[in-house]
């Protein structure tokens, strides 16, 4: 399968949404009969909220970005005074941290056990739960949209996606999985409903995923895409599987309950564990 990758969160798109304002402020918002979309740069990546409902209130989108910025302030490893950095330096005790922070760190521990140590918030030598925080915060953003009565939406946080309903007026969302070797190609297309899609690979930010046992990036694997109900878990699984490398990733992801995966190995073969329900 091959097609040209189109960064639809940037372009006006096939969806018939209004064009970006040519001299915009810091955010980009568009409205038309079919809904609302906005891109903001948060947590070091562009985050797109695409709501496909005509009656959606823009205030809900504001709430979503307010939430995401709060998460960034609290969890960023780049912000000196963030709770995560203060915990890491021993300035803040875990029991005094925000309950949400404790919840995330507990989930990190669970996932570390579930993934046999391959998802490790301390893999880089310091506390860095960002591998979970991104997906988790997007899941919570989806909850905000859902609570406001919105059923047809997508949130794309730097290539990791949470979807609900359909891409009105189209009958479904179509997600292309970027080929890790060639951005011009789509390795696969998936049409999920009410699901999350997370891709982990060496191509996103250089070799940022390390095998926690060897402290080296895996060499025989290009990317792992995981599809399932929650983005936090899908993302953590994708990261863990990628860290395992090669065949181990393919075998491990094959046994995940409720989560489907596609692994692309360095020799470009694709072990078949891709059973997305139609």
């Amino acid at each position: 399968m091959s097609a040209v990758v189109r960064r639809n969160e940037f372009a006006g798109g096939t969806s018939g949404f209004p064009q970006a304002p040519s001299t915009g402020p810091l955010t980009q918002t568009g409205r038309c009969a079919a809904g609302l979309r906005r891109v903001e740069y948060v947590m070091g990546m562009p985050i797109l909220v695409d709501v496909r409902e005509s009656l959606a209130d823009e205030a809900v989108i504001d709430d979503v970005f307010t939430w995401l910025r709060w998460v960034d302030q609290t969890f960023s490893t780049y912000i000196d005074g963030s709770e995560i950095n203060r915990i890491d330096r021993g300035e803040l005790r875990l029991e005094d941290a925000h309950p949400v922070v404790r919840g995330v760190l507990e989930r990190c521990d669970e996932l570390r056990l579930e993934t046999r140590g391959y998802f490790d918030a301390r893999a880089g030598g310091r506390l860095d739960p960002s591998g979970l925080v991104k997906g988790w915060s997007v899941d919570r953003a989806a909850d905000i949209l859902y609570a406001a009565g919105i059923r047809n939406f997508a949130v794309n946080a730097g290539g990791d996606i949470r979807l609900s309903g359909r891409a009105v007026p189209s009958p479904h969302w179509t997600v292309g999985i970027q080929h890790p070797r060639d951005r011009a190609r789509i390795a696969a297309i998936v049409r999920p409903t009410d699901l999350a899609v997370a891709t982990s690979g060496a191509y996103a930010r250089g070799d940022h995923v390390l095998n926690p046992y060897t402290r080296r990036p895996p060499t025989d694997i290009l990317s792992v895409t995981v599809v399932g109900p929650k983005l936090a878990t899908a993302d953590a699984y994708a990261t863990a599987a990628f860290a395992m490398g090669g065949e181990a990733a393919a075998h491990w992801t094959a046994r995940l309950p409720r989560y489907e995966a596609m692994t692309i190995l360095a020799d470009d073969t694709r072990p078949l564990h891709w059973r997305i329900p139609e």
Binding site: A154, V175, I177, D182
Partner: protein, 139 residues
């Protein structure tokens, strides 16, 4: 790169029309075409290095009486500076940039709503491109 960016790839696919004064008189239309090159800002791509985009813009001014119509069109796009400090990043980024160039210059319509995968280079690309477009609009 911790900044909000306004993303304007779409603008590339269009001319940027600016209608000026309105007039009642009808006279012979005068057409003036100027082609200029604009450089975008040099943007750092995490630890990979830096990236810069330049665009060539053809500005067409049609004057009919006192009414002026300005159309701008991007005729070509180049990436003179891109990250290449290791062999690996050269491989990744050359592929990425070739794709982005093609994307920017043609109106594609692969029927895809969203892409799961990487973002890094394209962010910097868009940021630099935006700076170049804004420069072009000021002339």
């Amino acid at each position: 790169m911790r900044k909000f960016i306004t993303v304007l790839l779409t603008v590339l696919l269009l001319a940027l029309p600016v209608a000026d004064a309105w007039a009642t008189t009808k006279a012979a239309a005068k057409k003036k075409v100027v082609t200029r090159k604009f450089s975008g800002s040099v943007v750092t791509v995490d630890r990979w290095g830096t990236l810069q985009v330049t665009i060539v813009v053809r500005k067409t001014t049609v004057t009919t009486g006192t009414r002026k119509k300005v159309t701008r069109k991007i005729t070509s796009l180049a990436v003179p500076v891109y990250p290449n400090h290791t062999d690996r990043s050269v491989f990744i980024n050359q592929n990425a940039l070739r794709t982005l160039r093609a994307e920017a210059l043609t109106a594609q319509s692969a029927n895809i709503d969203l892409v799961s995968g990487a973002t890094d280079t394209s962010d910097a690309f868009v940021q630099s491109l935006q700076a170049a477009i804004l420069k072009a609009k000021r002339t």
